[in-house]
Symmetry: C2
Subunit: 232 residues, 2 copies
């Protein structure tokens, strides 16, 4: 557990290792004395790189309480280009209003379910998730209505004395605002990883890279992670 500056007690932060979860962790540390970090691997293409980002961000903040969870079945059920090697991660430029093929069915429900179980077991008062509704990819489990509904599930499905609040501090922020807030909080953005397809140098062209680069551009800042020379 890392000692944060906040006055709240223990919180669980779901930390994929991407830009948004990195800034979410920084936000949680302003409000909680202690933070425990959860990472979920589910067979995504870049899971080793994501896990490394998780560990390095935790090291940066001195977070010692870490839960490294695996749910290979979520990848095995397929249906997403993030986990199914037979589907290609598309360039963002393909552009469509439909839900993209990188959507992993109901992923945030898995992460929240595990985060809340852990929170109940260790007595945490909140579970943080770095979801972004606006300026995001249109995944159905990244919308406020989904999180409101999940809050009720937590209230109903845990012990009567358990009070766990789902918190998504970035939900209504743009990528530019997220980058600015990260810089303001001195979050270790150089340790975060967002690319859906590469692990050494970010591809710069997948939707996750595009959104990240857009955020840095809007914030008037330079993204400190390496990109392939041919990209962006």
């Amino acid at each position: 557990m890392s000692k944060g500056r906040g006055s709240g007690a223990l919180a669980v932060v779901c930390l994929s290792g991407g830009l948004d979860s990195c800034v979410t962790l920084a936000e949680a540390l302003t409000r909680h004395r202690e933070v425990a970090a959860l990472h979920l691997s589910y067979g995504q293409r870049t899971e080793e790189r994501e896990r490394r980002a998780f560990e390095e961000i935790c090291d940066h903040y001195g977070i010692t309480r870490r839960l490294r969870a695996t749910q290979p079945a979520l990848g095995a059920i397929g249906g997403s280009a993030l986990t199914d090697p037979s589907l290609e991660v598309p360039d963002a430029s393909a552009g469509s209003s439909a839900i993209p093929v990188t959507y992993v069915p109901f992923r945030n429900a898995q992460i929240l379910a595990l985060g809340c179980a852990w929170a109940e077991a260790i007595g945490a008062e909140a579970v943080y998730l770095g979801a972004v509704e606006e300026d995001s990819s249109g995944y159905p489990d990244c919308r406020e209505d989904f999180f409101s509904a999940f809050q009720r599930v937590v209230d109903e499905g845990t012990r009567p004395e358990t009070r766990i609040e789902i918190r998504t501090p970035l939900l209504h922020r743009t990528k530019g605002e997220i980058v600015r807030r990260g810089l303001e909080l001195a979050a270790p953005l150089h340790l975060s990883w967002s690319c859906y397809s590469e692990s050494e140098e970010a591809c710069g062209v997948c939707e996750s890279c595009r959104l990240r680069l857009k955020g840095f551009a809007e914030a008037g800042a330079v993204d400190p992670i390496p990109y392939r020379k041919s990209s962006g």
Copy 2:
């Protein structure tokens, strides 16, 4: 997938391998043409025995579409005598109105989250779970309010065109009614396993065994599985 007698399309059944999930599967097969079965191992004491029951019940019905999921983190977070070897599974006779120590935090949320993700990926119209509210152990995630709340999460958190109904046909039945219904449907109760602590002969004294034996007694039937001689 097994060909059921029902007229509905594909359904996912969460099948732990216990009495309740065995009868729930039998119910689902009366309503759906095809059934796919999901088992979740999470570090519970009797997980190998449960998995064997899952496989044998699937074999019995000719269900070929099986998802064997593991979520070891759920066991690792502890807090339950079902997964923590340092806690003893108590005799039911210990008796208390409190939530028992065998409660695994938010377990049904994990199972439903995975079941619904799978249902969305394979186009199933329903997810069945063998939860029993009345005549159960008082777990908070076995109550109707929990499942109603989870239904909203599914509606909000999946693709707009996805329609998945959570079904808990045993929720308001007594254990006696469940056994009678299982016998009526010729469910393979002899292949099911409910004991929380033993894998060869059921202990007969843990809360799960007690509820099971009570059900058979109420139904005027003899439980076909082996029990330790010293028990019951």
